[in-house]
Structure formats: structure tokens, C-alpha cells
């Protein structure tokens, strides 16, 4: 029968609409402003007593508490406004002390029956809820350089242990280590030793005069591996640090080969966030050089707090902050801040081996920091800005080794309590495998976020309303069908985005608005085709049928090409562009479903299976 959908087809459409409705529904319940309480350490428990203390503190400050809930590992206090939320955080933090982390959060208020179906609202992007966005770049050259330094120290130590005499060994260029020897025999011995143990290097022998050299070149594969390791290690470290900051729902993500995105919703104190995230501080433990040590084996450093005072240290590094298993800020007998350090097994071993033969000598703790500075140079008469990366190394303590050190010891000589606790945090969270630099930063205040939401909602509503009106006026009855289809399209789009938990951003809203405008295209095409068929004298039923089937080819081609462009957008875009592309992609697919299937189903229900004289499709042409 012409223009009659079988029952199963109508049922499929109905099911899709019902599912769409349920999953779009949570978005109608606005998120609550909330503060979230978690333990500063994993051992700290958040219990009802803690929660009660927090709620009391808020009440005494006159901040209205909407509700408070205790969850598995954390507690959530819901508040009524964003102003309250901003005031509540310091109040709760003061009441609970430093054992707990208090973070701003948005708590979904989805009813429990919806939650049990796995439905939840769309996540809001930073531009809609406020927060900070950072893009960090890993300094890969330094990562490779550090590795070469470490290996070169290790090889020299082994040569000494094997009693192979060498003259010197240095890192040269970006990926070479050059070792030099007095005679050919010791070079041959060394060559065999290195070849056995360090197969990541390509070895070459070079002789010039009485210099017998081995040139070690890092292989291409190994360089790639080092870079990959550096990025992964930094990702882990940054995740740990973000957790230490106590931010709800942070995002830490790799971008490209050497960049990391960090998004911290709700964070307003960017200065602290940046200090902790970007802190590339690391420690190196080195022995003070003996009086008679060759200058090639030593390096001079100044003290961090007294620039004039210097000390000469050995080039070889005993251990670094990477070997630290745990670190806590504490006080020494004199009430001075100190950091108690526990090394991991490798670190403890290294430390023990280095110190047991060095009792009475002094060991230095070297503090290493990386910074960026902008330098303006004149190139061809125009100022060109270049970012210069600076490494600062300073001694924070130089103490006599009293006895062989094991895996636990402490560092003194720190300036202040904050410095000590930050150093402890950094050591605990793990050191960065390579320094990182901020290359992009965006801060969105919470008021700006709310304004963006309001503007977005308003423009969607108005645009949507105008399109509905336009279609109704122009296409009458069929216009109404298109409007129902369009409404369902919008609902399905929101449902899909909620199910995929895609992040809604301001450009994403723009994508929705644009989809609304373009989604009617399919229906316009079909209706115009139906009108044409009517004009050429075809009966209404046949006109509907051929209108839908003829228009399909155009709709399909047009949408596929747009989809291709949207996919390219998604693949090459970053941040805001990606959000737009996601909405556009989903919108194209839902609009094809609603424009073809849903509208057809309605038209069939209205006109199908009976004799029809006239179609309500606008214009003065419905007469045959």
C-alpha cells in the first residue's frame, strides 16, 4: 500500500524518540553549585563528623546549604549560588584544616530514576562553567640530553669499576657521547664492554693523533622511545599533581607528539595551579668534589639563597628526585622546615653505595628549575621574539655525611614552610621526566561562563522559534510536520551528546544553532519536490511517495559532503573547533533521521492509506 509504514517501522521510530527523550531529559535539571571535600592523602577518611564540621562552619558564616551528601571517598555540599560557592570554599577549608582538600564543583541534580538508567546531562566545557585551560609543551631536547648525561656518567662509573683507564667523556651535540682513551688496548676493552651493555647506541671508533675515541650515537628508535617515555612520564606526573590540587573532574590529555592539555574546571587561582603544574623543580644529589679532582670531572654551582657562595661538585649524579618514593614536609629540632624523604629501592641502593665510602665528605642537594624568558632580537630591522629556556641550578644544602645513608633521610636548608611543603608535593607527585613550558593559557571566570550559557540558550531558542514560524507560514500542514521533525531532531541531538558525554562548548552551541537552520533543508527539498510532482499532475499519494524518494539522492549527497568536511574539522581542529565539529557531525546524522524517517512517518499517518484530494503544503498549486 502506498504511503503506509509497517508497524515495526513506526515502532522503531517511536522507540528512538522515547530513548532520545529520556536521555535528553537530564539536561533540563540545572547543575547545583557545590563544594567537594576529599582527603589530602588516600589514607584520610572523609566521614560524617567531617561533613558536619563543614556544614556547621558554613551555617555560622551565613551560607545557605541546600543539601550535603557523603559518598564513597568524598563529601559533597550543595549550595544555592555561585557567590555562595566562592565564599564557601575558604570557609570549609579553614574549618577542616590542611588534611582535606576542598574543591569547587558542579553537582548534577539528575533525579535518581534517570540516573539509574545511566542518563546524565551534557558536560559543560570550560567556556561555559569557568576554569583554566593550559597547554604545556615538553622540552624533548632536554629529555634526550638528560638521558645522555645519565648514561655517560654510568659508563664512566663502569669503566672505573672495570679498571679501564679513560681520559675523558662528554656529551657532544644532540645525541652523541664521545669517550677518549690513551691507547688502543683500553679503547678495545671499553668498546667490548659498551657494546655488550648499551645496545641502544651505534658505536664508532675515531683516532686523531694520540687520541683514541669511541663515539656513541643514540639510535633513531631510541630517541623516539625516550621522547615517548618523557611524554608518558610527564602525563602521569601532571595527573598526580592535578590530583594533589584537589580539582573536580580535571582533564589531562596528550595533544600531538609533545604537548599536554590540562583543563581545571572551577579553578580561579591560576597562579597556584601554574606553580604546581609547571614546577619543573627536581633534585639532584651529588658529592662535593675532592680537592685534587680534575676540572673536567667537576662543576661549580652557587647556593640558591646566597649567590656569591659557591661550591665545586662532582659531575656524576648519585640520584635524582625521580628515585623518591615519598616525601613529607616536617620540622627539624630547631623548628626549621625540612623535607623527610624516602627513596625507592633503586634510589636507596645508589645512595647507600655512594655514601658508605664517603663518610666525612660533604653531599650537596642541588635544586633544579627551568624557566622561560622572552628575548627580543632585531632581525632584518624587525623585532622578533624568541622564547629562551633557562635552567637554574642552585645548591640548597651541603651537609657532611655522618654515616652511610639508606633509603630514608631528610633535607634541610629550605627557606620557608611553603617552600618545603611544595618541594615535598613535587617529589611525591613525581618529577617530570623533562621540563615543560606553558605555551597557551586561558582563564574563564564563572560569571563569564554563566553569561555564555544564557546567550547560547537565548540564541538557540530564538533561532529555533523563528525557523518554526517560517516553516509553518510557508508550508502550512507540511510545515507543521517539518517542525515536529525539527523538534525531535533537536531532542535527539541533545540526547546523543549526553549519551556520548560530549562536552558542550560555546562553539558547540553555535553548531546546534546552525544544525537547526540547516536541518530543515531535507524537508524543504522533499516538500519542493512534492509540489513539483503535484504541478506535473501526479496524484497526491504518488507525489508524496516520489517526492521523498527523488529528493533522497540530493539529501544524501549533500549531507555526506558536509559530513566529510565536519570530520576534517574534527581531525585537524583543536579545542573550540573540535566542539563545533562534534555537534555538526551528530547534527547531520540526527537531521537525516528526523528529516527522512520521522517526517515520512507523520506524513504517512496523516495522509497514508486513504484517498486524498488536496495536500496542505502551501502555495496555490495543490489542485490537480
Amino acid at each position: 500500500m502506498l504511503n503506509k509504514y509497517p508497524l515495526w517501522k513506526n515502532l522503531i521510530i517511536l522507540v528512538a524518540i522515547v530513548i532520545g527523550f529520556i536521555y535528553a531529559l537530564p539536561n533540563l535539571f540545572p547543575d547545583d553549585y557545590a563544594v567537594q571535600i576529599t582527603g589530602a592523602r588516600s589514607s584520610t577518611e572523609v566521614n560524617s563528623a567531617v561533613l558536619e564540621r563543614a556544614v556547621k562552619a558554613l551555617e555560622s558564616d551565613g551560607i545557605e546549604v541546600k543539601s550535603s551528601t557523603l559518598e564513597d571517598r568524598d563529601a559533597l555540599i550543595r549550595l544555592t549560588s555561585s557567590d555562595d560557592q566562592l565564599r564557601a570554599r575558604p570557609a570549609v577549608q579553614a574549618a577542616l584544616g590542611r588534611d582535606y582538600l576542598v574543591a569547587l564543583n558542579m553537582a548534577p541534580s539528575t533525579p535518581s530514576w534517570l540516573k539509574s538508567l545511566g542518563a546524565g546531562p551534557m558536560k559543560l566545557g570550560l567556556d561555559l562553567r569557568g576554569g583554566v585551560h593550559f597547554l604545556l609543551e615538553v622540552d624533548m631536547d632536554t629529555a634526550v640530553g638528560q638521558r645522555l648525561e645519565a648514561v655517560s656518567g654510568q659508563i664512566k662509573r663502569e669503566l672505573r669499576e672495570e679498571r679501564i683507564r679513560y681520559r675523558g667523556g662528554d656529551v657532544e651535540g644532540a645525541r652523541n657521547i664521545v669517550l677518549s682513551f690513551r691507547d688502543e688496548d683500553s679503547r678495545a676493552e671499553a668498546f667490548n664492554l659498551i657494546k655488550r651493555q648499551y645496545n641502544e647506541f651505534l658505536l664508532n671508533e675515531k683516532t686523531s693523533g694520540d687520541e683514541f675515541q669511541i663515539v656513541l650515537t643514540l639510535s633513531e628508535g631510541e630517541v623516539t622511545a625516550i621522547r615517548k617515555y618523557a611524554l608518558e612520564q610527564n602525563l602521569t606526573t601532571i595527573r598526580n599533581r592535578v590530583n594533589e590540587l584537589g580539582v573536580a573532574e580535571p582533564l589531562v590529555q596528550q595533544q600531538g607528539a609533545d604537548r599536554i592539555i590540562v583543563e581545571l574546571p572551577g579553578v580561579q587561582d591560576t597562579a597556584q595551579a601554574k606553580r604546581v603544574l609547571g614546577a619543573t623543580a627536581n633534585l639532584e644529589f651529588r658529592m662535593e668534589a675532592r680537592q685534587d679532582a680534575a676540572t673536567g670531572e667537576t662543576e661549580q654551582f652557587s647556593f640558591r639563597d646566597e649567590r656569591q657562595r659557591t661550591a665545586r661538585l662532582e659531575r656524576d649524579v648519585i640520584a635524582t628526585g625521580n628515585n623518591v618514593a615519598n616525601a613529607q614536609q616536617a620540622f627539624d629540632e630547631n623548628g626549621q622546615p625540612q623535607v623527610s624523604i624516602t627513596m625507592d629501592s633503586v634510589g636507596g641502593d645508589l645512595m647507600n653505595r655512594a655514601t658508605r665510602n664517603a663518610i666525612g665528605r660533604r653531599m650537596a642537594v642541588l635544586f633544579i628549575e627551568f624557566r622561560t624568558e622572552t628575548e627580543t632580537k632585531m632581525v632584518n630591522g624587525e623585532p622578533v621574539e624568541t622564547d629562551k629556556r633557562i635552567v637554574e641550578k642552585g645548591i640548597i644544602s651541603l651537609a657532611t655525611v655522618q654515616s652511610a645513608l639508606g633509603s630514608s633521610f631528610r633535607i634541610t636548608g629550605l627557606d620557608s614552610i611553603p617552600e618545603a611543603s611544595e618541594l615535598a608535593l613535587l617529589l611525591r607527585a613525581g618529577a617530570l621526566a623533562a621540563p615543560m613550558y606553558f605555551v597557551q593559557e586561558r582563564t574563564i571566570g564563572p560569571s563569564l561562563g554563566q553569561k555564555n550559557i544564557d546567550a547560547g540558550v537565548m540564541s538557540v531558542a530564538l533561532g529555533f522559534g523563528l525557523v518554526l514560524l517560517y516553516m509553518l507560514v510557508y508550508y502550512r500542514g507540511f510545515g507543521l510536520v517539518a517542525n515536529v521533525a525539527l523538534t525531535i531532531n533537536l531532542m535527539l541531538l541533545i540526547a546523543c551528546m549526553s549519551i556520548l558525554s560530549a562536552t558542550l562548548t560555546l562553539p558547540g552551541i553555535a553548531g546546534i544553532v546552525l544544525t537547526v537552520g540547516m536541518a530543515v533543508d531535507a524537508n524543504v527539498l522533499i516538500f519542493e519536490r512534492i509540489k513539483e510532482e503535484l504541478k506535473s499532475g501526479v496524484s497526491p499519494q504518488l507525489a508524496i511517495n516520489s517526492g521523498y524518494s527523488r529528493a533522497f539522492v540530493s539529501i544524501f549527497d549533500a549531507n555526506i559532503t558536509t559530513l566529510l568536511v565536519a570530520i576534517i574539522l574534527f581531525a585537524m581542529g583543536s579545542g573550540p573547533v573540535k566542539g563545533f565539529a562534534v555537534t555538526l557531525c551528530i547534527g547531520i546524522m540526527t537531521s537525516m533521521f528526523s528529516g527522512l524517517m520521522v517526517s515520512r512517518s507523520i506524513v504517512n499517518m496523516v495522509y497514508g492509506g486513504r484517498r486524498v484530494e488536496k495536500l496542505s503544503i502551501g502555495g496555490k498549486l495543490a489542485n490537480v
Binding site: T374, M458, L462, L525, M572, G575, A581
Partner: protein, 317 residues
């Protein structure tokens, strides 16, 4: 087609004038882009921007003086959205503490203000973005060329890609002329315009193909003209609904997406025009013919109807 149909409006009669207009617009756009350059936003140039909200509308000149006295140079101070909202853009990008410093400097003059947002982009990131974006645009055009070339025919591929380039160049030209900020959202808009304009072009091309196969008589220009005539109502209606929502977006969407909406509005207008006059015109110039569109005869089904039939599964829908 039926007899009592109204005589088709002579779209192709204007094609010489339209060609002239298009060529002038494109050449002028390229010239303007060359002379004035695009006013790239921070996403591309790198730098620092600080958004401040004052409780009382401040004098912008005072802010400028304060900043100059504090030793800043190469900065832009402007209102955005409201007269209490001030945007300070600095070309410096090296120092990532700059936003705080600027806020502190301005707050020190005794004004009540709040930092509502700030952004900092390293210059290297910007350069890379510029490169990637150009690449993305080109890639989009190539993919379209290949798809349309395969689905239709090579001449149609050319006739759908050139209008897209035409649209993009004119939008860029207008942005360069008025020195509107070209940022990442405008780039997204450009790609959306490509999608949209393509949509239009495909619909017209699809009808031209159908008519070439169906109408046994008539010159190519007559067929193209007829095809445009048949699709014009759809073209206008779709452009109309899209423009309506874009205007809503422009007026209500807020400062952040103003330029995005603007680029799309221009794009929809130019795209609608180009799908008629640039695309169809190119088909005429390349003298597309019936032979170009013949479905290659399959063995055993010789002489069968040569229309692009919708897939069989659709008829069951």
C-alpha cells in the same frame, strides 16, 4: 516537464555580468588580503589578552595612560559587549604571569575591577595553528573534489570546488577589508561555509544531472537554467531559515561568537549566489554535455532508464 509550467526565469542570461562580478570580487579580495592583511586573533599570533569587568565604566584613555606609564607597549585597549567590560590585548607572550600583573597595575589606580578571563598563547603555537588551518582548508577542498568527482563526474567536481574557494576568498577579503578579528571560531565558520555552500551546489548539480538524463531536447544552457529554476525555491528557503538562526546567533550569541556568526552570514549569502552563478556557470564554460552524464550501459540492461534511481531499500521505507 509539464506544459503549463511558467517560463523559466532566464538565470543564465545574467551569467556574463555575474562572471564579471565574481572575478572582480575575488581579485579585489585577494588584493585587499595582500595589502591590508588579515587581522589575526590571538589564537594565531600569540600574545596575552586580559578581560576585565569594572563596576563603573572606565575611561579607556586612562587605562592606556596607566599601562604606558607602567612600561607596557604594543597593547590594545577596547570595550567588548558592554562599556564596563574592557579587553586588553598585549603582543607579549613570553611572560605567563602577565594577566595578573596587568590586573594588579590597573587595580592600583583605585578602580574597582575584576579579572573575568585571560588568555595567553605562545607565538609558536599560533604559527603552527596557521599552518594547520591552511592545510585543513585545502584538505577539505581536495576531499570534496574527489567525492564529487566520483559521485558525479570530474567537471562537476571542478564546478563544486571552485565556488567554495570563491566563497572562502570573498569572506577572507571582507574580513581583511574591515579588519575584523580572524580567530579560531572564524576558521570553524569558514569550514562550515564550505559545508553549507557545498550543500547548495550539490543540490543544484544533482538536478542538472537528472535533467540532462531526462530531457532529451534542449541546449545545455536551457537545461541548466531549468534546473536552477526548479531548485530556486528550495535554495531560498533553506538559506532563509539558516540566515534567520544566524541572525539570532549574531545578535544574542554574545561577543565570543559574533565574528563566527558574521562569517557564516556572509558565507551563506555568498554561498547561495555562488551555487547558482559560479557553479552552473563553470559547467557551461566547461561545456558539460549529455555524454558526460550517461550512466555507463551495463551488459544485459541496455536501453534501460538512465535516471539515478534511489537505492532499492529506500523504496521499502
Amino acid at each position: 516537464m509539464s506544459d503549463h509550467q511558467k517560463q523559466a526565469f532566464d538565470f543564465m542570461g545574467f551569467r556574463k555580468i555575474a562572471s564579471a562580478i565574481s572575478i572582480i570580487l575575488v581579485v579585489a579580495s585577494i588584493a585587499i588580503i595582500g595589502i591590508r592583511g588579515l587581522n589575526f586573533g590571538m589564537d594565531f599570533t600569540g600574545g596575552t589578552s586580559v578581560e576585565l569587568e569594572y563596576t563603573q565604566a572606565p575611561e579607556l584613555d586612562e587605562i592606556r595612560t596607566t599601562l604606558t606609564e607602567a612600561g607596557y607597549d604594543q597593547f590594545v585597549v577596547q570595550n567588548f559587549g558592554a562599556d564596563t567590560l574592557v579587553l586588553v590585548r598585549l603582543s607579549e607572550s613570553g611572560n605567563d604571569q602577565l594577566a595578573q600583573e596587568v590586573t594588579a597595575t590597573l587595580a592600583a589606580t583605585g578602580n574597582d575591577l575584576e579579572l573575568v578571563g585571560s588568555e595567553f598563547v605562545g607565538s609558536q603555537v599560533g604559527d603552527e595553528l596557521k599552518e594547520d588551518s591552511g592545510l585543513g582548508l585545502l584538505l577539505a577542498l581536495v576531499v570534496v573534489l574527489i567525492y564529487v568527482g566520483m559521485r558525479f563526474q570530474f567537471k562537476f567536481g571542478i564546478a563544486s570546488v571552485i565556488p567554495l574557494a570563491h566563497d572562502v576568498i570573498i569572506i577572507l577579503g571582507i574580513f581583511a577589508l574591515f579588519q575584523w578579528t580572524f580567530d579560531l571560531t572564524v576558521l570553524a565558520a569558514l569550514l562550515a561555509v564550505i559545508g553549507y555552500s557545498l550543500n547548495d551546489t550539490i543540490v543544484v548539480a544533482d538536478r542538472i544531472r537528472e535533467n540532462f538524463r531526462k530531457m532529451r531536447v534542449g541546449e545545455p544552457w536551457e537545461i541548466i537554467n531549468e534546473s536552477i529554476h526548479q531548485t530556486i525555491a528550495r535554495t531560498i528557503n533553506t538559506s532563509g531559515t539558516t540566515l534567520v538562526v544566524l541572525l539570532a546567533l549574531y545578535f544574542l550569541g554574545g561577543e565570543a561568537i559574533n565574528n563566527f556568526a558574521l562569517a557564516l552570514i556572509i558565507g551563506v549569502v555568498v554561498g547561495t549566489y555562488s551555487s547558482i552563478y559560479v557553479s552552473a556557470n563553470l559547467l557551461m564554460v566547461m561545456s558539460v554535455s549529455r555524454e558526460d552524464l550517461m550512466v555507463p550501459a551495463k551488459e544485459g540492461v541496455e536501453g534501460s532508464e538512465e535516471t539515478e534511481e534511489p537505492p532499492e531499500w529506500l523504496n521499502r521505507m
